[in-house]
């Protein structure tokens, strides 16, 4: 089985180690993993800001890159949502293309959804020890129904205790360009998130989207909290967090 890995632009630029953690998880599950070299960004920043001029090109580019894959895995609910929900919508003027896109989007999975429901991982290589609180990022949760998946995976890890924070499903205020355009509102939302996470006393905040994580981490550190760790779920599951 060939699995295509869509790394996402944020992981590529900011935190490659997340990409490698995903790679490790997929390879250890016995899949042949391909990482198309020409992949870039799913185009969500422009799309969500109302500039849809490039979206068709980017959707078709994605289609070409991942056509030969049995599955496509994305370590981000937001990018996976873009591909699964919005790409087919953007191509709907051309029914043939839309159908092709639909077929590909059906083979596309958010990472934890894939690991739990397709790869059916029983044992995870990660070795994090301690308490964790999980932030449900918005697109994964509401567009793709990712909520149970990361929790079930974490439950398979014997040394991890998950402590739920208040309002784990409330937006952290990232919202892509929103966090730059409306920095002040976004900061307040991140503040609420940090407060709820801190109240659990957990050693680490974990989520499935790097955008949220950067936002939460950025606010934590500015608030003077230098001890709470912030991880992408792939890092926890694969054990890349020690790096």
């Amino acid at each position: 089985m060939r699995v295509g890995l869509f790394v996402t632009c944020l992981v590529d630029l900011m935190r490659p180690r997340i990409g490698f953690a995903v790679l490790q998880l997929l390879e250890s599950s016995g899949y042949e993993v391909v990482v198309p070299e020409s992949q870039t960004c799913c185009g969500q920043p422009g799309y969500n800001s109302g500039d849809t001029s490039a979206i068709k090109t980017l959707a078709m580019k994605f289609m070409r890159e991942f056509e030969g894959c049995d599955y496509i895995v994305v370590p981000s609910g937001s990018c996976a949502g873009m591909i699964k929900v919005h790409y087919p919508e953007c191509l709907k003027a051309d029914p043939q293309l839309a159908e092709k896109m639909q077929a590909i989007s059906e083979r596309t999975f958010e990472l934890t959804d894939f690991l739990l429901n397709v790869a059916k991982l029983k044992v995870l290589p990660g070795d994090f020890k301690g308490t964790i609180t999980y932030h449900d990022s918005c697109s994964g949760l509401r567009e793709l129904g990712v909520q149970r998946q990361p929790r079930e995976l974490l439950a398979k890890m014997p040394d991890i205790q998950l402590i739920e924070m208040q309002e784990s499903t409330t937006c952290c205020g990232f919202g892509g360009t929103f966090s730059v355009k409306y920095g002040e509102i976004s900061t307040r939302m991140a503040d609420n998130k940090c407060r709820h996470a801190e109240e659990t006393g957990a050693d680490a905040i974990v989520a499935g989207d790097l955008g949220c994580l950067l936002n939460i981490e950025g606010r934590l550190r500015r608030r003077g909290n230098l001890h709470t760790k912030v991880f992408h779920i792939a890092e926890i599951l694969a054990g890349e967090d020690k790096k």
């Binding site: 590529d12 490698f20 509401r142 205020g173 919202g175 409306y182 950025g218 550190r221 500015r222």
Partner: protein, 465 residues
Amino acid sequence: MASIHFKRKASENLGNEKLQSALMRLQERFVDARTAAITDLDDFEATRDAAQKIRDRVLNNLDGWLLYFEREAISRGAVVHWAETAEDVNRIVIDIARQHGVKKVAKSKSMVSEECGLNDALEGAGIQVLETDLGEYILQLAHEPPSHIVAPVVHKTKEEISDLFAEKHQKPRKTGIAELCLEAREELRPGFLAADMGISGANFLIAESGSALIVTNEGNGRLVTTLPRVHVAITGIEKVVPTLEDVSTLIRLLPRSATGQSITNYVSVLTGPKGTEDQDGPEHFHIVLLDNGRSSLLGSEMQSMLRCIRCGACMNHCPVYQNIGGHAYGWVYPGPMGSILTPTFVGLENAMDLPNASTLCGACGVVCPVKIPLPDLLRKLREKQVEQKLRPKREMLALRAWSWMAGHPVFYAFATRIAARLMHWMGGREGRLHYLPGAAGWTDGRDMSVPEGSTFRDLYRRRKS
């Protein structure tokens, strides 16, 4: 248009401690109550589907249903008026008042009259207006607009209301909620009795019987619509629903979504003026139907917005609204629904911030009882802003540049490689940026963790070779 001050207002409100604690209570009260209330519906999702269908059925043939409603209302003695604009509404209502020699008006809550600025118009014509909903009454005393469509004074604390009453009523300051309510009731009662005309909104119009339906919790709605000689119900043209049966489906959702009640204290179905055998009711019943931009949504990709039943669930669940409150939105309709309605009614260019001031987190769409895809509609408005070249040039340039790069992998790889290195270097030993040119909005309140230094693609290629 006050919506253009969104950012400034939002910023002020974030710093307003009293408001912040009031907003926190709103969330506790309505969000949790809704969660509890929808579980006692046998099948909430199926009811939502049914509600959506009812609303769509009407909207797909709105003129037909409106004419049916008009015919039935007239046959039961009501007078139906059509208003294209807010000014038309004001003119029509003032005409009705003059025609009946009205000096005093008692009002029950109506967002549409707020939309039209009716109170000012009436006062301008020398007619005294008394808001009789507790919330609206408080706002009238305070000379403030509502900040929520269901709980208009949600932004005020009890202490502020105590002070306001003591000042305006010239009575000893009360602090208990029951005492304050009693005091308001004492002040309002003469107003009901003296009014020659009652003005209400209408949550729904029932086509088959030509009735207006209102849901209220305080009972004032019934006094307003039955005591005075003349009753005027004002509402938007989209509020029509085919049958009483249909309304009963919608009513299972409205209070549950709004306040978490399974039903409101009063549901009044108002049909025509008082009959010869009736004990009470108005002698004259007028219904004013407002368009004000609504019909322009018909047949457009925004049509689903007209399904809205004004429950306010979207704003109660919107994390942006929860933090900045309704006044920041600058007009009658706040929150996600307002961010769509306001630009639609007052012009996209007059409400530039509203469609953008959302993280598109989707919470609003999930709770909307009539399944309006609010995030998609917000995105569509953003598209329109771009199409009409209303967005700042710099923003567009940055987005286009990024999209262009995304479409040109070689260039993209090169640019991200440089950016990763540069930002990594800028972060120094601490590994964080306290300021990032071009993203000050971000770094004003957050540190930016810097990239690891090499892009995934570079590292991956190295690993493979």
